[in-house]
């Protein structure tokens, strides 16, 4: 493998990411599966001295409905227009999304309006009639992982830990997984393009980890929406994740890093589901391969308490990785809530190790 070859590709896909003053919109589901993730993003943005603004009356972008064939495109565009209206009303012009599918939808909508200005005018009319609001298109659209990528050196400098096994001194082997909607539709809207995206690799490189390239790197985790929502189809989605796990196994990854809200949910939960359905586990000693989002990893690098990041609700235990990185954690506090009361303990899985 010639890494310089990849570097040439990355140089061709450079992206404009705003430096400060972001209007932040949340993901529908991320906080359900990863309760600490978005909170951590806001925390380290503040620690890095950046201003991030949220309007609590913002809604879903409706991407989840649009991609399930439930919400028609015109409705989705109007919902997006309202989000933009909230942004311009608050006096912001840099739009940052938490969800990758959102990012994909916002990009798609902006691109549609650029090629079909008549459609944009129509949506303005819809929004005006429905809510009385006017909107201004954002000057800069980025995903929260883009912003974290931009700040990766600052995070590294302020960081207390690195992606290095502190006992052996070796870099942690990381598989990076980019959400499908990040750059596949518009490769020049993603850092590094679509074939060799750089947004997560940049973070891993900067924080000391070793990136693994494996044959099914490009494969979708299976989330999709439209097929997954029906339970009988779920096996099809799980099989996609399984194809990835089987492919990355010989490369012995120690961590999977993702930037989409759905992907880590899949890659984390399905290791458990597959272990219960088939008895197969991945990773060392039946521990599974821990899965994290970039917010959680940035939080760990910066020395935030692992339980504040929400790592206790991951189904693949993160403790082995914390131990490798030399990050202290209090096992006794794992299942205590914010007030110190017990949250109850989950039933241990039958095939995977439980901490």
């Amino acid at each position: 493998m010639k890494p310089e070859g990849k570097r040439l590709v990355w140089n061709e896909y450079q992206k404009e990411i705003a430096n400060d003053n972001y209007f932040y919109v949340r993901s529908c589901v991320r906080q359900n599966f990863f309760p600490g993730a978005e909170k951590t993003f806001l925390r380290y943005m503040k620690d890095m001295g950046r201003n991030v603004f949220e309007n609590p009356s913002h809604t879903t972008c409706s991407g989840i409905g649009y991609h399930s064939d439930i919400v028609p495109f015109e409705t989705a565009m109007t919902m997006v227009a309202r989000q933009f209206a909230l942004m311009s009303e608050a006096g912001y012009e840099n739009f940052v999304t938490s969800c990758i599918t959102s990012f994909g939808l916002y990009s798609e909508v902006l691109e549609t309006w650029e090629h079909f200005p008549a459609v944009e005018e129509k949506i303005r009319g819809h929004l005006r009639n429905a809510t009385g609001r006017e909107f201004v298109k954002p000057k800069n659209l980025a995903h929260a992982s883009d912003v974290t990528f931009k700040l990766r050196k600052d995070i590294s400098k302020a960081g207390k830990y690195r992606l290095i096994n502190h006992i052996t001194g070796n870099s942690i082997r990381v598989v990076e997984h980019i959400g499908c909607h990040y750059s596949r539709m518009f490769p020049n809207k993603g850092v590094g393009g679509a074939e060799y995206p750089y947004v997560l690799i940049g973070m891993i490189d900067e924080w000391g980890g070793e990136v693994i390239d494996y044959p099914e790197r490009r494969h979708c985790c299976g989330f999709g929406f439209r097929q997954y929502l029906v339970k009988a189809n779920r096996g099809y989605s799980v099989s996609s994740s399984k194809k990835k796990f089987d492919s990355m196994k010989p490369y012995k990854p120690e961590l999977i890093l993702t930037n989409c809200p759905g992907c880590p949910m899949f890659l984390d939960r399905w290791q458990y589901a597959i272990s219960e359905m088939e008895g197969t586990t991945y990773g060392e000693n039946g521990q599974g391969i821990p899965v994290m989002t970039y917010e959680e990893l940035a939080g760990l690098i910066l020395g935030y308490d692992p339980w504040d990041l929400g790592l206790q609700v991951h189904q693949v235990p993160v403790e082995p990785l914390l131990e490798k990185m030399g990050i202290p954690y209090d096992p006794a506090k794992k299942f205590l809530d914010i007030n110190g009361n017990s949250m109850g303990k989950p039933k241990p899985p039958s095939a995977m190790k439980f901490y």
Partner: protein
């Protein structure tokens, strides 16, 4: 005054036309930007369909060039027209002048543009991993290896047990902006498949194609021979992506369209048949002369049937791959046609021929 012809481009078509015109008694100067003439053909080992050595063809052409004045290592920086005469200004290093450059004007009664083509840059097809995965090479690099005479080995130093050849790299591809077919790559792929089987009879060779364009005499028979005599496998399906195994071998994914199923396999070596792209230098020359190019970027002649060596500008002629993908045998025929038309043009210009 003696008529002079300037031929820009020292490849197969340029040299053929220059030699023929010089033999007919004209004063011919050949300008070539590289240090040596020969163009791309100098890089090939054996030519389709009969597998003769490329050097044989170049030797034949060069034998006819004794009267041609050849200037290498220069670039054309300006061409101006004054009534029926042209001046071509070249820029090159001053002999024994170190890095000093000098501009030299060359007068001409007419100019033959035989500037040829360039090969598509394989790294633009990012999904094939050229320049990233060690065992992905181009067909031109494979010819280099054949010419060197040493056995072809993988980057791990082993003879390949399974080789994949990919057709249509950089051609017929909207994503890289080249919608046209480069014509000669398919027969090159079949030829190289046979050559690889000759070198390693026990190996498996797979050609991944969309269509097989066996357009000229003996080409279809070459395809037949590849299948029947050598056991080359042809899989109709365009490669979607490559990945690398821990041992350096390449995993390819394609659809086996003839069975309707997605297929994946490991190959030890992957050869990319890169197509033709217009030469970069022609853009400035076209601008200087006011020539037109097609949507594919190659230069247009005055008429593709009847005036295929002329342009709209009297005295400016075209030969060879500057007009688009072409084989060596066609290029030679085209160059000879251009030479005859130049001769007719120059003779019609002689004083007393009103």
């Amino acid at each position: 005054m003696e008529h002079s012809v300037i031929v820009i481009g020292g490849g197969v078509s340029g040299m053929t036309a220059a030699g023929m015109l010089a033999q007919q008694g004209f004063n011919v100067t050949l300008l070539e930007k590289e240090a040596e003439t020969g163009g791309h053909a100098a890089r090939w080992d054996r030519l389709f369909p009969d597998r003769k050595k490329a050097s044989e063809v170049l030797d034949f052409i060069r034998k006819g060039m004794s009267r041609v004045k050849v200037i290498t290592g220069i670039t054309v920086v300006n061409i101006t027209r004054n009534d029926k005469e042209f001046t071509v200004v070249t820029r090159g290093q001053v002999a024994d002048g170190g890095s000093q450059m000098a501009d030299i004007p060359h007068p001409a009664s007419c100019i033959l543009l035989a500037t040829g083509y360039e090969l598509f840059e394989a790294r633009k097809k990012e999904e094939y991993g050229y320049g990233i995965y060690n065992n992905v090479i181009t067909s031109a690099e494979l010819e280099d290896k054949f010419r060197s005479g040493s056995p072809i080995l993988t980057s791990e130093g082993k003879p390949p047990a399974r080789i994949g050849i990919v057709h249509c790299v950089g051609s017929r591809d909207e994503k890289v902006g080249n919608l046209y077919c480069s014509k000669v790559c398919c027969v090159t792929g079949v030829k190289q498949a046979i050559e690889l089987k000759e070198m390693y009879p026990a190996s498996e060779v797979f050609n991944f194609y969309m269509d097989l364009r066996m357009f000229d005499r003996h080409f279809e028979e070459l395809y037949y021979e590849a299948q029947q005599k050598w056991g080359v496998s042809f899989i109709r399906g365009r490669l979607s992506e490559c990945a690398e195994n821990p041992d350096g071998s390449i995993i390819v994914k394609t659809e086996d369209t003839l069975t309707g199923k997605p297929l994946k396999m490991t190959v030890d070596l992957l050869v990319l048949l890169t197509g033709f792209v217009p030469g970069r230098g022609m853009a400035s020359i076209s601008a200087m002369l006011g020539l037109t190019t097609g949507a594919d970027g190659f230069t247009n002649s005055a008429d593709s049937h009847t005036l295929n060596n002329s342009t709209e500008i009297p005295g400016i002629f075209l030969a060879g791959a500057v007009k688009g993908p072409v084989s060596i045998s066609e290029s030679i025929a085209d160059a000879r046609a251009a030479a005859i038309q130049i001769e007719v043009y120059l003779n019609s210009d002689k004083p007393g021929n009103d």
